[in-house]
Subunit: 144 residues, 2 copies
């Protein structure tokens, strides 16, 4: 569904959001270990998220990554997915047709339309706060 970079991005954002909610800053090593993801690859992804402004980074001792608490309740899964996989994901035809649309549909277009809308709705209405809340209660997990 999403690229593995995107999967890691979402998990990383949840991890960082959870720390930030509790007033803590975390760093690359902690994130990578928390997710059980390759450190260097995770670094690249965090770089992208930083450039997009979804997290804030700080160099030097005691530095690391943090998320603006106000943003955590506003940033949605859709925002993160778009930042990593690009906006194409939301419009890409199920059968890969470039010209697929309501007026010139592929054979499964109408079958999948409600599903796509549902997916989009979930992504757009699920904030980081929503999903990070269960994490600290050990009700959900983010480490493979």
């Amino acid at each position: 569904m999403f690229s593995s970079a995107c999967e890691i991005a979402i998990r990383a954002m949840i991890f960082i959001a959870d720390k930030s909610v509790h007033g803590q800053r975390t760093n690359l090593r902690e994130v990578a270990r928390g997710l059980n993801s390759p450190e260097a690859f995770t670094a690249k992804i965090l770089q992208t998220l930083t450039k997009c402004g979804w997290i804030h980074s700080r160099k030097g001792p005691g530095g690391g990554f943090e998320a603006n608490p106000k943003k955590i309740s506003k940033v949605t899964l859709a925002d993160i997915v778009e930042a990593i996989d690009g906006p194409g994901i939301f419009s890409h035809c199920v059968l890969g047709l470039e010209t697929c649309s309501d007026t010139r549909p592929c054979p499964v277009h109408h079958k999948f339309l409600p599903l796509r809308n549902n997916l989009l709705s979930i992504l757009q209405h699920t904030s980081l706060l929503d999903v990070s809340a269960t994490l600290n209660l050990q009700k959900t997990f983010i480490r493979s």
Copy 2:
């Protein structure tokens, strides 16, 4: 959502099914042109579908590909997707966690569960016959 090989596979199956329903056999060149897909790559995909038994191939002049009319109403999108992308697609965690399950869920597991079931249901209940029917009426298209 699916790999591009899988997108082509589904479109190719629809194309072949549509021909077969009308008692016609088609060949690689026709399929590739019908889908506007690279011929050699399409050949590989048709090879896989043939080995899986979803279509039947025939060598020599006048040869090509055809689908058993009885099968066309039974083969589902899920069958084709599984043949090309493997069964993992149906169980792969949204966030890429290997250990994700109802009892040890990732933070979005429960949010996406209904969506996943819905997707699975659509794939399993949509037969080739269903989707190829609209094609001949020029109501849907499979060429990009």
